[in-house]
């Protein structure tokens, strides 16, 4: 589930987990209300805004969480999959931010769930932790587990997901495979400086979306930069500076999620 900050990713996850009640409609997990203990026994959760005691060790808290599930993984296995074996006997209070994130992952998987909900799982992880995490996610997916995770990095979603749902302000704006989604997203960024102040009208009817417009400078996103430039020159636009680069995926994604009514 992909979307910019404030898109409603955490709210959606909370609804799916029964942590929040929908104002309309209903959420069902395995055909049960998500708050049903039988449903919760089959899912693992990693939340952004949550904490845990600091005085237990990693192994101790994993063992407590294992007791909540009918057929948990061995503690050693859950800790190893989270890449925390070396820290198994360390108190939680001594863990770094990234290690803490791995601990939450260990707690999410220790019940051997069929479905995992991970809200922004890689936030705060260093490169090493992220690599271990990605490997574990792939192992779990290969074992047939369903993994729902949120991210605001298109790259991360592309790398890990088979299906990407893009949401913005609580609305689904795209639901596709990474490949399909990529085709919908413009691939090139055109940055140009005109000899006079530019207006939105200068770019009307072009096969491009305006990313930024600031007096004489503009940046556009397009999959057809050559055609766009040809049309601009045909209209007689005098350019002082021009640059065409591969679109930054974040920016491309931003253009996709931006509704017309908020465009600058």
């Amino acid at each position: 589930m992909l979307g910019p900050n404030g898109a409603g990713k955490t709210t959606s996850i909370s609804l799916m987990l029964g942590l929040r009640q929908p104002t309309a409609g209903q959420a069902r997990l395995f055909g049960l209300p998500p708050s049903d203990r039988r449903a919760r026994s089959r899912c693992g959760v990693m939340l952004q805004e949550s904490g845990t005691t600091s005085v237990l060790t990693v192994r101790e808290i994993v063992d407590v969480f294992r007791a909540y599930y009918p057929a948990p993984l061995l503690a050693e296995r859950a800790i190893a999959m989270a890449g925390l074996t070396e820290k198994a006997d360390a108190r939680i209070g001594t863990l770094s931010g990234g290690q803490r994130q791995r601990l939450y992952f260990a707690l999410a998987i220790c019940g051997d769930p069929e479905i995992l909900f991970l809200d922004e799982p890689t936030v705060g992880m260093d490169v090493e932790a992220r690599r271990a995490f990605v490997a574990s996610i792939q192992t779990l997916a290969d074992a047939g587990k369903t993994i729902v995770f949120t991210s605001h990095y298109l790259r991360e979603a592309e790398e890990l997901a088979r299906r990407i749902v893009v949401i913005d302000r609580g609305t689904v704006i795209a639901d596709a495979s990474p490949r399909e989604l990529k085709a919908q997203v413009p691939g090139k960024k055109i940055t140009l400086t005109g000899s006079r102040p530019l207006t939105r009208a200068d770019f009307d009817g072009l096969d491009a979306s305006v990313l930024r417009l600031d007096r004489d400078r503009a940046s556009l996103l397009s999959n057809e930069p050559a055609a766009v430039l040809r049309e601009l020159f045909r209209r007689g636009l005098d350019l002082v500076d021009l640059e065409v680069t591969g679109a930054d995926l974040e920016e491309a994604f931003l253009a996709l999620t931006r509704r017309p009514d908020t465009a600058p």
Binding site: G51, D63, P70
Partner: protein, 260 residues
Amino acid sequence: MSAPGATAPLGRMLLAQTASELRIRWRIPAFSVTIVALPVLFFTFFGLPYVRQTLPNGTSLGAYLLASFAAYSVGSVMVFGFGIGVSTERGLKVDVLMRATPLPPAIAILAKVFNALAYALLSLVVLIAYGVLVGGVRESPLVWLDMIARLLAGSLPFIALGFSIGYRCGPNVAPAAANLVYLPLSFASGLFVPLPQLPAFVRRIAPYLPTYHYGQLAWSSVGAAAEPLLTSLAWLLGYTVLFLAIALRAYRSEESRKFG
């Protein structure tokens, strides 16, 4: 992976949860040491000098004062343990993650209650042993067992009071709130200094306080209760209902704010 519909046995959850609560509390000396040391310290200052005296009805003043501090100690474990414990957990957002697990909230609360009862028992055993061995207070062991059983069984209103503080106050405010509520209650009920030595207006207020009636449970064990047991129990039950209502209200308003 488990069969669809399978859940972990509640007994196993309760055991693991209680053990971890005990461990967590044990590793926070600010709690475990305070809860055991303070009543002993108070008894040393307010009780030891008078252990050889007897009350007009023949009860040993030492036993009477030990009973007072026993009541104080159990109440404080409950009010401080739950008050500060619950607010700290809320501050750390432990509750958010726990809510998403299959652990039923009732089991989590029951584990906290068992944990608090265990620490209350520890505190009582240390205090009574100190009173007997160091203070030379002489009563039959059955009297102490009876007192321990009464105090633990009657601690419900203070558990509820602790919960209402824990759900109403943030982690920075809860310790002060617990002190501000519990210490005056204890003083004004004659748990530190016997009631006859307190100002007249305090003596008039005392019979309306939960700590006063809780004290009666302990004093009745040593034959010095000022009212029938049923009266004490009725008052304690009333306060339990009142505090539970406050706790439940605070809990609900938090629920709707956080998870609504």
